[in-house]
Symmetry: C2
Subunit: 595 residues, 2 copies
């Protein structure tokens, strides 16, 4: 009798397991059981098909059951749902959905690749026909058909995670007026920090997206073809369409009912060979719980790249090879209109919650040589352990963001430290980079902090300062200062600083800032050596202003983007520490110029 491997779920992890296993073993019988109508489709492309960026539906279907049979001799049963695992008998009970026929399928090894399920909060009105989640081809078809037939003019997207943001952009592209509701104070709250999200918010508003932070959906009221979205803060958003993108949870029903061990995250526990608590049952993909590479804590990493790799490695394990999965970092990226946002590892809130000691560094650099046309600024924030290990990175900008984040993720993966970033020897010609790449710059600056050559202060620490003992020093040129500066700052440009340093007090802490942090660093080194007490504002005026403007908008205040939003839709974000400072400053601020 041939050995039989049954794989439940045929999208990313399941299909990868099957194909790799066949390449390693011509003999084993491989059967994929997939409850949906499709296998191995391009999940990550679904929002773009809805938005019309991807025009052909068939382009989403990477592999067909027929192709799997012909090329791989893999039997695929779509529309068959696994109902129950009979572990003692090593059988799966299956229902053919079209006919209702039930049967049992014996296995030698079973692979669970059921994926994840969209969170559907228990809200009244959630069953309304205008309310959608997006996970599968069938979900996509439903949304696409609704757009085509009902021609909705407006949509509310609930949840500003990766899928939420992609849906915002694509529904906007499809011609809808889009609002985004996020319970946290900023987009991608599990990936980004507030100051890195602020430019993303600005960009979204410039594209006409209405943003609602710090509030959640209480109920959905259906009325004459519309849905009224009731928010916790009392606001009511009328919409002809609602996308719930409030996250996903591992689909662990089968595993749990079979008595397999489930972790605290709700994911199926596996060992480094992807075996569950039953050694004949493997699991891969969005349904499993991983040990975080960075914290060693249980975590969920629900992304396509890791799922594919897990599938491949599970096949190696099934073929009897040595496998020791090293875990995943959770490298993620989203296109947000013209911006790119990419992150790896842990953001500040996650680190604080986990009680992990770290420091941060934020740098802005041109994506390629500033003298070559088309150069744009990109921002990198690093969270770094006291021993120099990189715990997290965030990058936001218009160009080359994916490259920089990938480079940092690679250094993390290979166990490098933040000082390694400055040593990286990256390809430089003016169209691609600068002699010091943004990643090198991020490494140099963080290395300076780590090595004691630079002490920085972050925007959210300013409110804690005692201004009777501290002063702000703007070292930019006069024109820059006049175009906008932090209230109360003394102006002394870098070019005059050495000769006029005597004007500065030696008994106060001097908080230096420039536009992005570079001149501030030069000034820091000079003043420090001259005996002054100094700190440099991380990210410079650029970051400070992005935060200040964002808070002004969220508070409905004097921010420069007030005109982009209805006053009634403005929410105060839950960013307490920053608000303190800015509330006071904005009352006295004379100028709110952009620069």
């Amino acid at each position: 009798m041939k050995r039989r491997v049954v794989i439940i779920g045929g999208v990313a992890g399941g299909a990868s397991t099957a194909a790799r296993l066949r390449r390693l073993d011509e003999e084993v019988e491989i059967i994929i059981v997939e409850k949906g109508d499709y296998i191995s489709y391009a999940n990550c492309g679904l929002p773009y098909y809805i938005g019309g960026v991807i025009t052909e539906r068939e382009d989403l279907l990477v592999q067909t059951p027929e192709g799997m049979k012909a090329k791989y001799n893999i039997e695929v049963r779509t529309g068959h749902e696994a109902l129950k695992i009979d572990r003692p008998k090593k059988e799966v009970e299956i229902e053919e959905k079209k006919t209702g026929r039930r049967y049992r399928l014996a296995y030698d090894q079973l692979v669970l690749a059921p994926g994840a399920l969209p969170v559907r909060p228990r809200l009244s009105g959630i069953e309304a026909p205008q309310v959608f989640t997006l996970r599968s081809i069938n979900d996509t078809d439903r949304i696409k058909n609704y757009l085509h037939e009902a021609k909705p003019k407006s949509a509310v997207v609930v949840g500003a995670g990766l899928i939420g943001l992609e849906m915002v952009e694509n529904l906007h592209r499809a011609g809808l007026k889009v609002s985004l509701v996020e319970m946290a104070g900023w987009v991608l709250p599990r990936n980004l920090d507030f100051e890195m999200a602020a430019p993303v918010h600005k960009h979204l508003r410039q594209k006409g997206i209405a943003l609602y932070f710090g509030t959640s959906v209480l109920a959905l009221e259906q009325r004459s073809g519309q849905v009224m979205v009731l928010l916790e803060n009392g606001e009511r958003l009328p919409a002809e369409m609602v996308i719930l993108a409030a996250g996903t949870v591992p689909d662990q029903r089968l595993a749990m009912e079979a008595g397999l061990a489930i972790g605290p995250t709700g994911g199926i526990i596996v060992n480094e060979r992807f075996q569950t608590s039953d050694p004949e049952i493997y699991a891969v993909g969005d349904a499993i719980e991983l040990k975080s590479t960075l914290t060693r804590e249980p975590s969920l990493v629900q992304l396509a790249g890791p799922a594919n790799r897990q599938g491949r490695l599970a096949a190696d394990a099934l073929a009897g090879r040595v496998v020791a999965y090293e875990g995943a970092l959770g490298t993620a990226i989203a296109k947000v209109f013209d911006l790119t946002v990419a992150t790896v590892g842990l953001n500040t809130e996650s680190l604080r919650r986990a009680g992990i000691d770290f420091f941060s560094s934020l740098t802005h650099s041109p994506d390629h040589a500033a003298y070559y046309p088309g150069s744009t600024m990109l921002s990198i924030k690093l969270n770094i352990a006291p021993d120099g290990r990189i715990l997290g990175a965030q990058a936001v900008g218009y160009k080359g963001v994916d490259k920089r984040l990938d480079l940092i993720a690679t250094v993390i993966k290979l166990g490098g430290k933040v000082t390694d970033l400055s040593q990286l020897e990256l390809a430089y010609a003016p169209p691609y980079s600068a002699a010091k790449d943004p990643v090198n710059v991020a490494g140099y600056v963080a290395g300076n902090i780590l090595g004691g050559d630079l002490e920085v202060i972050h925007w959210d620490e300013l409110p804690e300062l005692d201004w009777s003992r501290s002063l702000l020093l703007d070292v930019r040129e006069k024109s820059e200062y006049e175009a906008g500066h932090i209230e109360g700052a003394i102006h002394l440009p870098l070019s005059q600083l050495r000769v006029r340093a005597g004007e500065l007090p030696k008994d106060q802490e001097i908080i230096i800032y420039c536009q992005i942090g570079l001149r501030g660093y030069v000034a820091y080194r000079m003043l420090k050596q001259l005996g002054y007490k100094v700190k440099n504002l991380s990210g410079g005026y650029r970051t400070w202003k992005a935060v200040r403007d964002e808070m002004a908008v969220q508070r409905g205040g004097e921010g420069s983007e007030r005109d982009l939003r209805e006053p009634s839709s403005v929410q105060a974000a839950g960013v307490e520490s920053g608000v303190k400072l800015f509330a006071q400053q904005q009352e006295t601020a004379a100028t709110t110029e952009e620069n």
Copy 2:
């Protein structure tokens, strides 16, 4: 008395040393002596200013002497040339070029950052006013003025290195008809292998560039405003302008006359703290000889990134810090019209010449998910040591080439192996990558070869085969086969292979190929397990055809691009091994279709 550091040369390495040293030490006196009229300018931007991509000359001038004085308290003496180093007295003899005044400048430490000089072969006619080299702002002004005043219509660029290729593109952009002469058989011969260069040649010809390989310039004849470029092979190229881009050599005159140790490459020998054989004299940048990180052999790495980093580290050393420069890999990149070419480490010829054992792997992958618009193929070639260390990488394509090469350079830098490439967890969303990034794919394939799961054969090994004992098997679909295939190949598509495998002989070696190598790999695994002797053609038909077409053009034969060139300008390349196969095949080839 203050300590005084004198730095000779104020462009990349010299300016970096000076600025960093000041940041570390407010007290030391720093004097830069620069024989040219400018410091710290954007060398890498010069071709783009000539081509009009960079429109403002002042954008090239990153830092001025006045700025260096005001911000860094660094004294800059431009137009002052160091004539001689008096080591016993620790003085430099200097000439102010404008006045001819000579003086001596005492130093405590001296830093040599003189850069490199363009190679000027001893050719008759090389002094003609239409003949230029490009290294400095002054060179740039001369070329720019000549373009403006003489309005030349045609140019010959001699040398297809990085600068040569950039000048080809930029002179073409400036409206000239450009010819490129390269002694080797392909562009970037020290970086690329022939099969990776072939698509670059095709692209250059499509842009209207005439290419002359395997021949060198014998003489330049000046006649009535034109220069006639006489080639070794007897051809004569008339041109109104000639750019010599035949490489650069370290400017080591001062060092050599001062008796400092010079290495076999002609570069100044330094230790890992950048000290020359005189511990009070340091050297950085294009003038120094490095130990190759990969081979530990003496080598020159004349690139801006390493020069900047060396300057920074030399300053650390001068400030008394611990410094241990780890050497450079020579990561390089060039924009060639719409293509990007990037390389790191050693190409095949360099490895063979050095007698280093290695194997190769070539993969083609879409730069981002093929189902998302705008996806293009990019090619990665890896040269790998038997222990899995990556010795060299080459990447060519339209998009995302810099990212992939940088990732590989990073893995090399951190001491990773080729199998690490498959583990990298890179940011994936459809606009940026695929669930398996091209770098992952390159790592998987090379890892398969390394681990014995795949045996490949390269295009240049085909001619060595005994075709009575080998056969070629095309596993692509019928339409692909009919659109063009390798002469003599049997056709059996992957989808039918398992059921029809019995038709194949078990006593012959079967060389499988598909379009890019993926289906070939699946077929390989199947047939191997079924007991056949198999190899997979690395890079598939795509690479084979690029090589075949290129050879046809270079031989003036039946290549599809014949119409793009004058028959008289066609040169046979010196790629012996490949020519053998293709000479025979083209005589009998029925089709030369593109696909």
